[in-house]
């Protein structure tokens, strides 16, 4: 089985987000960037499937400017075999990204596409579902467990995926080729070792343009403004449980 994993370069999750003063976007100048945490989980899952002998090859793809090659190298340091960068401007809309990834998945004849459930910048939670729809593949989103029985899986074989849904868990059986999107508890990603980081520099990285893939990118959605969220005014400290209950009953009137 061949696995395609998509990775996105985003603002590091520990960085405090600041909105630009002209309210057009979030300020990304001189900000630490990293691999989207959900994508890290996707890479980890693919590598584990390869280590178990279930997958034969793990290919990573990223859509964006040259700087996302750094993220692809990280994925290869973690264990991916080779990488494809689709060179575009950064911040392309989800549907365009989905069309590009779908085309790469087709060209690569990937049996399984693993993607993060959402990127922590745009928080859309939609690209994986869109890739699946464009290819008419089944999907298992928000995965917390992926089970492949009987060794190496191939096209037309079923895999079982447990999903985190509101109120609990759901298990689906989906037939390959398929798309899986990762939730937080699927696995704990490893760290790249120094020798592997060095080795990753020599792994193949192809660069393609949207035109090479025959995909036209663009969106009808425009940003009107990006503003900081309304600040919540801090409240008061109470000295005792009795005072707290009194305030809740008589001041906030949320407890009767």
């Amino acid at each position: 089985m061949k696995i395609l994993v998509s990775v996105k370069r985003v603002i590091d999750y520990n960085v405090k987000v600041r909105v630009k003063s002209d309210q057009t976007a979030v300020d990304l100048t001189n900000v630490k960037m990293s691999m989207n945490p959900f994508c890290e989980i996707a890479v980890e899952e693919a590598i584990r499937l390869k280590e178990k002998g279930v997958a034969s090859e793990v290919v990573v793809v990223s859509v964006g400017s040259k700087s996302c090659q750094e993220t692809l190298r990280t994925a290869m340091a973690l264990g991916a075999d080779r990488a494809i960068q689709v060179e575009t401007e950064d911040g392309l809309d989800s549907l365009s990204v989905a069309k590009l990834i779908a085309k790469v998945a087709q060209d690569e004849a990937a049996d399984l596409v693993i993607m993060g459930k959402q990127a922590i910048d745009s928080d859309n939670n939609q690209t994986g579902q869109m890739v699946a729809a464009l290819l008419d593949y089944p999907q298992a989103t928000f995965a917390s467990e992926v089970v492949v029985e009987n060794g190496e899986a191939q096209t037309s074989q079923e895999i079982k995926v447990t999903r985190e849904i509101d109120g609990g868990l759901q298990t689906l059986a989906i037939t390959l080729p398929a798309v899986v999107t990762t939730d937080l508890r699927l696995n704990e990603p490893r760290f790249a070792s120094l020798p592997n980081i060095m080795k990753a520099k020599r792994k193949p990285l192809d660069v393609k343009a949207p035109a090479d893939l025959g995909v036209e990118v663009g969106s009808n959605v425009s940003i009107v403004s990006v503003t900081p969220p309304p600040q919540r005014a801090g409240g008061i400290k109470v000295g005792s449980v009795a005072e707290l209950v009194d305030k809740l009953k008589n001041e906030a009137k949320v407890v009767s």
Binding site: M130, A132, E164, G167, D183, V221, V224, K237, V241, L244
Partner: protein, 309 residues
């Protein structure tokens, strides 16, 4: 042009997030239709047709829609999409699973987690875990939106009398098969629908100590929640998690117990009307958003709170 809403339900009852979505729809325009796709879901259809503001309920009642799999439900929606300028679903795991497929098949964008309607083509949504708020405008012919329930009041569940239309399309899902579901059983209100929530964090120390919160929850009719730290530590199951990567809630009263107040947790609860924090660390960031903060050992304060309610 009409607006289509995909109903959130479990074949037995209409879920409240649908009502918030109806309110969002009525802010866009009139003539709101609701699609109920399920199996033996007649009660849901009854409930949906009584919701104030809904003019028509479309019913696709067939075994193939029992588990509302994204693969076939999205195709069903696309088949009826040409009558609509807007297609909305609550931003639940079901809505988030299905609606992007609809958008992709229609070759349009999806606007996720809308919290405010500015006009029929301009919407407000949080990005960067709620640390920035984006206003976006779309010129797509069909506007596909998921709606965050906490951004809108619930429409009245009675007072409407929508007409019904049966959809005869039966679309099978050949390559995706439901295996099983494990849902948490609870007599308490659902987190996203509760008026009062009491949540525990890493400060609870272990899973058994969450029983302390139950006493208070019983007295207030509250749902019980947790921070990601408590979930990751294995104290409670993940469906209790409130936060950016869990559930977004906005109850009248939110009581945070032993929760430090990481950004990721705040993103999930900061729209609550009144926030109470109980924490022994007086420098915990949760106190910066709490209306009422109590610096105390939770193991003393919570039992005392239960007694005084």
């Amino acid at each position: 042009m009409s607006i289509l809403i995909i109903a959130e339900h479990d074949n037995k009852s209409l879920k409240s997030a649908t009502l918030n979505t109806v309110t969002a729809a009525t802010q866009i325009g009139a003539d709101v239709h609701v699609l109920v796709a399920g199996f033996e879901c007649q009660t849901v259809v009854e409930q949906a047709s009584q919701v104030a503001g809904v003019t028509k309920v479309l019913v696709a009642d067939n075994a193939v829609y029992e588990h509302q799999l994204a693969e076939n439900v999205s195709k069903l929606i696309v088949e009826i999409a040409s009558s609509y300028e807007h297609i909305l679903a609550p931003a639940t795991t079901t809505g988030k699973n299905t609606l992007p497929r609809v958008a992709a098949l229609l070759n349009v964008a999806q606007l996720s987690d809308v919290i405010k309607v500015e006009s029929a083509d301009t919407f407000v949504r949080p990005i960067y875990a709620g640390n920035a708020i984006a206003t976006v405008k779309t010129t797509d012919a069909v506007k596909v939106l998921t709606v965050r329930a906490t951004g809108f009041d619930a429409a009245a569940s009675t007072g409407g009398s929508a007409e019904r239309q049966v959809l005869s399309q039966v679309i099978a899902s050949d390559r995706s098969r439901f295996v099983k579901e494990q849902l948490a059983e609870s007599d308490r209100p659902e987190l996203t629908a509760a008026n009062v929530i009491i949540s525990g964090g890493r400060g609870m120390g272990n899973g058994d100590n969450f029983k302390l919160l139950e006493g208070v929850a019983d007295k207030l009719g509250a749902a019980i929640g947790a921070s990601r730290a408590a979930v990751d530590a294995g104290y409670v199951p993940n469906d209790l998690q409130v936060g950016q990567t869990g559930k977004t809630v906005a109850p009248d009263l939110y009581i945070a117990v032993g929760i430090s107040g990481a950004i990721q947790h705040l993103a999930g609860m900061k729209d609550s009307k009144v926030i109470v924090a109980i924490n022994k660390d007086e420098d915990a960031p949760i106190f910066q958003v709490a209306d009422y903060g109590l610096v105390a050992d939770l193991f003393d304060a919570v039992p005392e709170l239960e007694k005084s309610l």
